[in-house]
């Protein structure tokens, strides 16, 4: 009946409980949020910083350099739980891409669960250094056991400029792979 619908709508308007969305700036590459959270820059972050997956599945994680100035080369070392994770594939990121692909080498110490990544820009002139935020590498992992698996940057991580001067990495943020059983 139209009158019943009208009355229902009236009640909805008067007593309805609209809600506000919850603001959660959870993108690890959000510079403003990082500053709000007290994270010093430049930083090394994983994107995404949290992945939900099942045992046996693979997940792609990108390593990002955030708000770095004058970067020319980088060494990134990652600790991971080798009993629960396998590195399946790797690829160079795009931050050091110039007219040619950057030098890119990955060493995976599966016995100790350490991945070492070396990447160098072959750019010349204005392309020899980069400033800003960009990906250094893309890694693909396969989960072999359930659990919360932490990916952590070690102290061996380095950024250098064109003259091989070190660039301080102020923050190294971890990533999490939340693996559940099938």
């Amino acid at each position: 009946m139209p009158s019943t619908k009208l009355l229902s709508l009236a009640c909805l308007l008067i007593w309805s409980c609209e809600k506000l969305p919850v603001i959660d700036f959870a993108n690890p590459l959000d510079v403003r949020q990082s500053q709000n959270d007290g994270i010093l820059l430049p930083a090394l972050v994983f994107y995404p910083d949290s992945v939900v997956m099942k045992t046996g599945e693979t997940a792609r994680v990108t390593l990002f350099a955030m708000e770095v100035q004058g970067l020319s080369a980088a060494r990134v070392q990652i600790d991971y739980e080798h009993q629960k994770l396998n590195l399946v594939s790797n690829a160079a990121g795009d931050i050091l891409q110039s007219l040619t692909n950057p030098f890119f080498q990955v060493e995976d110490d599966t016995a100790n669960g350490v991945i070492d990544i070396f990447t160098v820009s072959y750019g010349v002139d204005s392309l020899k250094t980069v400033t800003g935020t960009g990906s250094l590498a893309v890694l693909e992992f396969q989960a072999t056991a359930p659990g919360k698996i932490i990916l952590e940057y070690t102290d061996a991580c380095e950024f250098v400029d064109h003259d091989d001067n070190p660039i301080t990495i102020e923050s190294r943020l971890r990533g999490v792979l939340d693996v559940s059983d099938n």
């Binding site: 959000d30 935020t133 990906s135």
Partner: protein
């Protein structure tokens, strides 16, 4: 001996003459003067015999028969009594009735007793508050009802007039009208005022609430769209790896949040105004409901025009005595 033979023979003659007829006993009075009730009884019988064409025993003949048995038939208003009298009179049908002035209320009761089956085939009961003169009309109505005859339109109107006036005088109409108007305005703003024929007020209340309701709906839709947009921007924000894009989506999220928040605030404001006006409209409907005096005036105006004759007529009361 001769006298006894004369009475017995008159009874036989009476029985022979009126054996198939209707006996209409005098209306039994309670708190009504004897003279008034006799006038009413006479009118009652006239209606039955003249207007309804029912042959009934003459009252003098009834009294003559009952006198022999020393029965005063004037106080007979019950079935058992009517049956007893009916047997004495050898009547086929008996009508007994009463009029009782109970404080302000007049109560009229009547029974049509079928002697052959010893049962009441028709009954009539009507109570009203009003003038004693209205009893004239009501005993006439009782005659039509007991004998199952259709009432003429004029009599129906008079009966309706007495009935409506009675409800008004008891305050029932005022209470009922006020309650109905209040409930209608509670359900829909302005509807009570429309019911009371205060169309301008009804239109104002309804129009205002409709306009405010539209505004509230508009804010609700704004909230809904902003709420949806927020999550769309959030998805894009989370999926983006470009710092500038991330900043833009972040700002869009915050804008959507502000729009949603303002829409909620405005909608709540308007809802409060709607609620306040709704309550005022209910109170207004309650207080503009007509009083008993106004209702009585309306009744007089309503029944002043005779739709059958299509003319206005003056109404005046005749004292029974």
């Amino acid at each position: 001996m001769l006298r006894t033979c004369a009475i017995v023979s008159s009874q036989f003659l009476f029985s022979a003459l009126f054996a198939q007829q209707l006996a209409v006993l005098d209306i039994a009075p309670i708190e009504i003067t004897k003279d008034n009730v006799l006038t009413l009884s006479k009118h009652f019988r006239e209606v039955i015999s003249v207007k309804l064409g029912e042959a009934s025993m003459p009252p003098e003949a009834i009294r003559t028969v009952l006198l022999g048995d020393k029965v005063n038939n004037r106080w007979c208003a019950e079935k058992w009594c009517g049956e007893e009298v009916g047997k004495l009179l050898n009547a086929e049908k008996v009508i007994v009735s009463s009029v009782w002035k109970d404080d302000e209320m007049y109560r009229i009761n009547g029974l049509l007793i079928e002697m052959s089956s010893d049962s009441v085939t028709q009954s009539h009961q009507f109570n009203f508050v009003g003038e004693e003169a209205s009893l004239f009309t009501e005993v006439e109505v009782m005659a039509y009802q007991l004998l199952s005859k259709p009432m003429p339109p004029e009599l129906s109107r008079q009966h309706e007039y007495i009935s409506e006036r009675s409800l008004a005088l008891q305050g029932i109409t005022e209470r009922r009208t006020r309650l109905t108007a209040t409930l209608l305005s509670t359900a829909v703003p302005g509807l009570g005022q429309f019911y009371l024929k205060r169309f301008l007020w009804g239109g104002i209340w309804f129009g205002t609430e409709l306009a405010l309701g539209s505004a509230a709906l508009s804010h609700y839709i704004t909230w809904r769209n902003a709420y949806r947009d927020f999550f769309e921007f959030e998805d894009m924000y989370l999926a983006s790896t470009d710092v500038i894009e991330i900043e833009n989506y972040r700002n869009e999220m915050l804008d959507s949040y502000d729009v949603a928040k303002n829409a909620i605030y405005r909608r709540k404001e308007i809802s409060q105004i709607i609620t306040a006006l709704w309550v005022l409209n209910i109170i207004h409907a309650y207080f503009i409901s007509p009083s008993t005096e106004e209702i009585l005036q309306e009744i007089e105006v309503k029944f002043a025009h005779d739709p059958i004759r299509r003319e206005f007529q003056l109404r005046f009361a005749i004292a029974i005595n």
